[in-house]
């Protein structure tokens, strides 16, 4: 049940982050699409983790407080999602 709550919370936070970024990256909308692609390819376990929630919450708070650094936080999340991509995890299996 706790995992389900985390999953729902993380999805909500991610939607909020995407909505914020969409507003502040109107000159390059492909960046938000890229972020959403990375999200869709990330490991489900990571997407419902406390680690992801903490990173997402931190990025959202900072992005809202400093709109001049929107791309910095998008890049940070993309890097994190890339590190936890489902494809990467499969490839790392022995």
């Amino acid at each position: 049940k706790a995992a389900h709550i985390l999953k729902v919370e993380n999805e909500k936070l991610f939607e909020e982050f995407v909505a914020h970024c969409t507003l502040h990256t109107q000159d390059h909308p492909e960046v938000v699409t890229f972020l959403q692609t990375k999200y869709s390819k990330a490991s489900p376990d990571f997407l419902m983790s406390v680690e992801f929630r903490n990173a997402l919450g931190r990025c959202l708070t900072r992005a809202q407080a400093n709109t001049a650094k929107t791309f910095v936080y998008i890049n940070e999340l993309c890097t994190l999602l890339k590190q936890h991509s489902a494809k990467r995890r499969v490839l790392m299996q022995p």
Partner: protein
Amino acid sequence: EPSSMIDDDDDPENRIAKKMLLAQIKANYSSG
């Protein structure tokens, strides 16, 4: 650097992050 690549972002860190993201998107697009 072509003038079209220079944007008017005030924050240097943001400018670098934007360049990195656009480069990754371009690389992904190129690789199919």
